[in-house]
């Protein structure tokens, strides 16, 4: 660079005044010099102090993240990749990538619908800028690379899902879910251990703790609990005599999850190593249909006992099944909440099958007749605005047109048994 070479300065002899031509030349040279220096200054400034291209409100550069595990009911552990021109940028990008994963990635993404995602986009800057407030714990850096001049790090971060969800609700981003919650509460879930004495019971407890912390009403049952005779009769009408199904009906849950667990062990160099597998199958109580199934695994570990391993596996299974339940439940409640309704007609009222069928079709979005005898009818109803079986009973009572009156025999969550006759009775007869 020779911009500032001294040759622009004329030789002056005996204090002689510079000529006009020279003054012009000097002026032009000065302009050139000024322009050149300005250009150099600008280029230098650009080159030496590059302005960060990433702003705090920008979304992550990286969208590489993977779920490690559901650490607790309110926190998930995510291994995320961060990119940036500097380590500081890469660290922050990893935080954002982990947050991105919690929002959009995996089976339990908080923003699962396009409406939710659109609503988020309008306010996302604040979430990215405040990413730190959703980080419950930052682990060590797990890898570091430079690719194409850009730092890439990996890090395990714990995201506080509860806080994140609260903020999303507060900003009406997941308002659909909130409204649904108001309209129809989260499903009541029965968790039933298939072996009340074994690891399954422990797994069921972990499962219920997991679900409770996510706002679900949970009932833990043992498979050997006694089932009411009426429930047995009602269940038998449809032909489903699975004790767990009947237990769920009796409990009044919307969904029931059957849990089985197994701990396999072996010896390695004198050390006991064990691995727990927890299987979870979720069903709609009203229909008895399966809505999801998954198995959770613990690592195979050298460990005394199996409780911790079962808990680890149960957490894993719960995390997988919950995603299935959430998606399925949201679909289901759009059709209206499902009820299993068993109607028993007293002989004196005659054939009321048409009256019942018409009634159910009138008051509910959908009515499916599962099984029927001459005096007993088994329906699955999807009704909007009805949260509990009692609400549905009142609706039926108000709208029933036909011989006899509607009497309640049993109501339990999404399970309703009614008798239509001329007088009240606590018993029903199922053919």
């Amino acid at each position: 660079m020779n911009f500032a070479r001294p040759n622009w300065k004329p030789k002056q002899h005996n204090n002689e005044a510079p000529s006009h031509k020279y003054q012009e030349k000097k002026k032009i040279m000065s302009y050139k010099l000024f322009t050149a220096l300005t250009l150099v200054a600008l280029l230098t400034a650009c080159a030496s102090t590059p302005e960060s291209r990433v702003h705090p409100t920008d979304p992550p550069l990286s969208h590489q993240a993977t779920l490690v595990e559901s650490y607790s009911s309110s926190e998930v552990l995510i291994r995320a990749t961060g990119m940036g021109d500097s380590m500081v940028q890469a660290r922050n990008d990893a935080r954002k990538a982990a947050l991105w994963f919690a929002l959009f990635g995996g089976n339990n993404a908080l923003l699962s619908t396009s409406e939710q995602q659109q609503a988020f986009r309008a306010q996302e800057g604040e979430f990215w800028a405040n990413v730190q407030s959703y980080i419950a714990h930052e682990g060590d850096i797990l890898s570091k690379r430079v690719e194409g001049g850009q730092n890439r790090i990996e890090r395990a971060l714990r995201i506080n899902i509860s806080n994140l969800k609260s903020d999303l609700v507060a900003r009406n981003i997941i308002s659909d879910t909130a409204e649904l919650s108001e309209m129809i509460a989260n499903p009541v879930i029965s968790v039933i251990a298939d072996d009340p004495e074994g690891d399954a019971r422990h797994a069921a407890n972990v499962f219920s703790e997991y679900l409770q912390d996510r706002g679900f009403e949970v009932v833990v049952l043992d498979a050997n609990e006694t089932v009411d005779e009426i429930v047995q009769q009602a269940a038998a009408l449809e032909g489903n005599i699975d004790p767990m199904y009947m237990l769920a009906l009796q409990t009044g849950s919307d969904i029931y999850i059957s849990i089985d667990a197994e701990v396999a062990e072996r010896q390695v160099a004198g050390n006991r190593v064990a691995q727990s597998t927890v299987g979870a199958t979720a069903y709609y109580t009203a229909t008895g249909s399966q809505l999801g199934a998954s198995s959770g695994y613990s690592e195979e570990r050298a460990i005394a006992g199996g409780a911790a391993l079962t808990a680890e596996a149960a957490n894993d299974a719960a995390d997988k099944v919950l995603g299935q339940i959430n998606r399925s439940w949201q679909r289901e409640i759009q059709r209206g909440k499902a009820f299993k309704v068993v109607v028993n007609a007293s002989p004196e009222v005659g054939d009321i099958s048409r009256n019942v069928h018409r009634l159910f079709n009138d008051i509910c979005n959908r009515a499916r007749r599962n099984a029927a005898g001459s005096t007993s009818f088994d329906y699955t109803l999807n009704c909007e605005g009805q949260d509990r079986a009692m609400d549905l009973l009142m609706l039926i009572e108000d709208n029933y047109q036909g011989p006899g009156q509607v009497f309640r025999v049993l109501d339990s969550g999404s399970f309703l048994i009614i008798r239509i006759g001329n007088s009240d009775s606590n018993s029903i007869t199922i053919e």
Partner: protein, 635 residues
């Protein structure tokens, strides 16, 4: 093995950059299991402790070594004097091995010891002793064998007697070893909420299926003995003779690394303490030498005493050399991610537990575009107290200083194999001048080529106060300048110089350093009288040479230096002319400035500094022992 003309450390000179090691790393972000997902990958993973069994028997090719002996009588010619033999006792060899085994197996390793029908496993925090292995492991015999035979014998012994019980023994200590690992599962459900160590089975299988056995072997020695008759003068002027007997027979100890893979031992690495290049050879000769002075002409029986002396030091030097060469293999070098990259105080989470010494160099590795590159290097100024037996909060990190290149947080700091000793070659131009009767002659300015050794005292002594203090021995040969004007008959002949000195280096960054130091020199000048050969004369001077240098490291193993010194003679000695007549004049060497420049390159042997090398720190082992004893007392 032929001595290479170009030492290994100089072979990297042309590119003048660190050699790049290409490693293929997994590129996927998805790891195999939970443990892998929460532990560091190869790009920044800290090294883990290895379990090592040091085989306590030194294999011998022969128990009797023979050396040709030469005798040089006073003012006579050297002549063959015979062929003397010395014996090496197996117990003596094994004891020497045991004394030096710590250089190869310091406390960075977990140790396996088999004795009779019991085994002991020493980890950083625990000692599992008296483990009944259900069978007696026979002792290794004391037969002499060739290297190949000995290696096969060891391998057979390990596989027949040790391998069948290895898994069980290793399994006993597996939980303790897992707790000492860097790659532990942290912050997961099982570790934090269930509060269980929960060692993954894959890690357990890895721990019980991988260990090493180190075996050592001493091949037949090559060397020579030399007896010199030296005339000595008593105070009354009478003379007598003494005999200096020296032996030069550096040990070329060999080392075998056997890897246990869960089923059997296989030979993994074979190392040889053989010099690479002239300087290493010279260094090895210096540590492999010993001498005694007697007032009588020694006999063969005196050779044994010299040999025993020589054997100790040379074995130590070869052990250090083998340890250094072992660290050239990545799995035996300490690696740790950089915690704090502040250039003057880089924090590394290693220390005395890993035998990190003062001024230990670390190179910084970074994976750039899927290739691992060296981006800078440093030296440890203050080794940390990293004893794993201490609570985590009481451990301290090593502090290092960046000397060249750059460092960022979470670059991988990799231990650089280093002995702390360099060979060096430099040219010196001194402007000292001979004066005769206080008149300057113009003669005596020496042009020297010097060859020497320089060792880092901080590293050798493992003393923080000596960090970057270097001690040097240099020997130079050259030519004197001739006289001028009225002394133009004085022809400068040869000059020799021996220097012993020290310097303190101050690093400036970017590989540059300055050094201030001083030497005590002994110079011998010869002058020829062109007018009368009988009046040729020699003189010797004792000099103090303060000096200042500027140096530049091309790599941690190679540096250039140049400097200026003032060569101040403290005394001049002369006696007689070549014809035997006393010199009647007053001769003196006048002080003068000297300039020098040269290259220094790392040596794999400590050579003349071998005796100064302190043993690896046993602080952590002592601390562990004290804690275990306290626990036992409490119970």
């Amino acid at each position: 093995m032929a001595i290479a003309l170009v030492p290994r450390c100089l072979q990297s000179l042309p590119p003048l950059i660190f050699s790049l090691v290409s490693l293929t790393f997994a590129t996927g972000t998805l790891a195999n299991n939970r443990f892998d997902q929460v532990t560091a990958d190869d790009t920044i993973a800290a090294s883990e402790r290895q379990a090592v069994m040091g085989i306590s028997r030194l294999g011998l090719e022969t128990t009797r070594f023979g050396f040709p002996v030469f005798y040089t009588p006073h003012e006579g010619k050297t002549r063959p004097f015979g062929y003397w033999s010395v014996d090496i006792n197996q117990n003596y060899a094994d004891t020497t091995l045991a004394e030096n085994l710590r250089f190869v197996i310091p406390s960075r390793f977990d140790r396996l010891i088999f004795e009779g029908n019991e085994a002991t496993v020493e980890t950083a925090t625990q000692v599992f002793s008296n483990l009944d292995i259900g069978q007696v492991i026979p002792e290794l015999d004391t037969k002499t064998r060739s290297y190949r035979q000995y290696r096969n014998y060891l391998l057979d012994h390990l596989n027949s007697h040790v391998a069948p019980v290895m898994q069980e023994v290793m399994g006993t200590a597996a939980e303790a070893r897992y707790k000492e690992m860097n790659a532990q599962e942290k912050n997961t459900f099982i570790t934090e909420r269930a509060r269980q160590t929960g060692m993954p089975a894959a890690v357990l299988e890895g721990l019980v299926s991988s260990s090493y056995a180190f075996g050592f072997y001493l091949p037949e020695l090559q060397g020579r003995m030399h007896i010199s008759q030296v005339e000595q003068t008593r105070l009354d002027g009478s003379t007598y003779y003494v005999y200096t007997t020296s032996l030069q027979a550096p040990l070329k100890t060999r080392m075998m690394v056997f890897h246990y893979n869960g089923k059997e031992f296989t030979t993994e690495i074979q190392l040889n303490a053989v010099a690479d290049g002239v300087f290493e050879s010279l260094a090895q000769q210096l540590s492999g030498s010993a001498s005694i002075t007697t007032s009588w002409l020694p006999r063969e029986r005196h050779a044994q005493e010299i040999f025993d002396d020589m054997f100790q030091l040379s074995f130590k030097d070869s052990s250090i050399a083998l340890s250094t060469r072992l660290k050239e293999h990545r799995q035996y070098a300490v690696a740790t991610p950089v915690v704090d990259p502040t250039p003057d105080q880089i924090l590394l989470e290693v220390g005395n537990q890993e035998d990190i010494r003062v001024d230990q160099p670390f190179t910084f590795k970074r994976v750039v575009d899927s290739k691992e590159q060296s981006v800078g290097w440093s030296r440890v100024r203050q080794p940390g107290n990293s004893c794993l037996v201490l609570p985590e909060g009481e451990r301290t990190s090593s502090q290092a200083q960046l000397l060249a290149g750059e460092v960022e947080e979470f670059d991988l700091a990799l231990e650089h194999p280093w002995t702390g000793v360099y060979g060096r070659l430099n040219g010196t131009q001194s402007s000292t001048e001979l004066s005769i009767n206080d008149q300057a002659t113009g003669a005596g300015a020496a042009s020297l080529v010097e060859l020497g050794f320089i060792g880092n005292l901080g590293f050798l002594l493992n003393a923080p106060s000596m960090s970057e203090v270097w001690m040097n021995f240099d020997f130079g040969l050259g030519m004197n300048s001739s006289g001028e004007d009225t002394y133009d008959y004085l022809d400068g002949s040869s000059v020799g110089r021996l220097r012993l000195g020290a310097e303190k280096r101050f690093h400036l960054g970017y590989g540059f350093y300055t050094a201030l130091g001083a030497d005590l020199g002994f110079e011998a000048h010869s002058f020829t009288n062109l007018n009368n050969e009988d009046k040729n004369f020699d003189l010797t001077t004792y000099n103090l040479i303060p000096r200042a240098e500027l140096g530049y490291y091309f790599t941690p193993n190679l540096n250039f230096f140049a400097g200026a010194a003032y060569n101040q003679p403290l005394g001049t000695e002369y006696n007689e002319y070549a014809d035997g007549t006393l010199i009647p004049h007053d001769l003196a060497m006048q002080g003068g400035l000297s300039l020098h420049a040269g290259l220094a390159f790392h040596l794999g042997f400590t050579g003349p500094f071998a005796s100064m090398m302190s043993k690896p720190s046993g602080e952590c082992d002592e601390l562990r022992q004290a804690q275990l004893e306290a626990q036992t007392a409490q119970q």
